[in-house]
């Protein structure tokens, strides 16, 4: 799944460690999500949505063209 996490984080000048601390996950998890190697659960996606004050679909995008 594609996401804009890295851009959104950079816009706020947050480090991966700061974002990880906010979400109660490890920095490695943030890194894996940003590199699109790990898709977060719905619960973590909603946490991100609340934190960035954006709807989930503005952060994540389904990379399967059949689902668009």
């Amino acid at each position: 799944m594609k996401n804009r996490l890295k851009v959104l984080r950079a816009e706020r000048n947050w480090t991966q460690a700061q974002l990880a601390a906010e979400l109660a996950v490890s920095r490695q998890t943030i890194n894996a999500i940003e590199r699109e190697k790990f898709d977060p659960s719905l619960s973590l996606a909603f946490k991100l949505s609340r934190l960035f004050d954006l709807p989930v679909h503005d952060i994540f995008e389904d990379d399967n063209p059949n689902n668009r």
């Binding site: 947050w14 700061q18 601390a21 906010e22 979400l23 109660a24 996950v25 490890s26 490695q28 998890t29 890194n31 894996a32 999500i33 190697k37 790990f38 977060p40 659960s41 973590l44 934190l51």
Partner: protein, 140 residues
Amino acid sequence: MNETQNSNAKWAAEVKRNISRLHYWVCAWVISIGLLAIGPKLLWNLNTTMTIVVGLANLAIGVGMIMANMQFVKGQDEMQQKIFLEAAALTLGVIVVFGGSYQLWGSAALITFEPQVWHLLCVMGLTFMIAMSAVTRKYR
């Protein structure tokens, strides 16, 4: 960002606590296994009561270690849990395949030594370490 910092600091502290708790339980279990292995002959001269007491203590410590391990895994974040799950699945598969045929190698005289349970434990430990490292690298 400050609102959630307290609960997240608690999560980080909980993870650290789980790691040290697991560390203590594993150390205690290894000591109790060692005691059970060498104790009967070298320390208490095959005294059955002592062997039973140490054997029961070993089992109780083993249960404690299992609980500590479960608590450790539950305390991890979702990606760490996924890494653990994939490594555990791989280890389980290797142990079933290897363990199933290992006993037969002995009876078919394919190996010159007698198959022992601790051989399986060693294979399991090594497989899990390699699997954890490989799966962690996959998500890096």
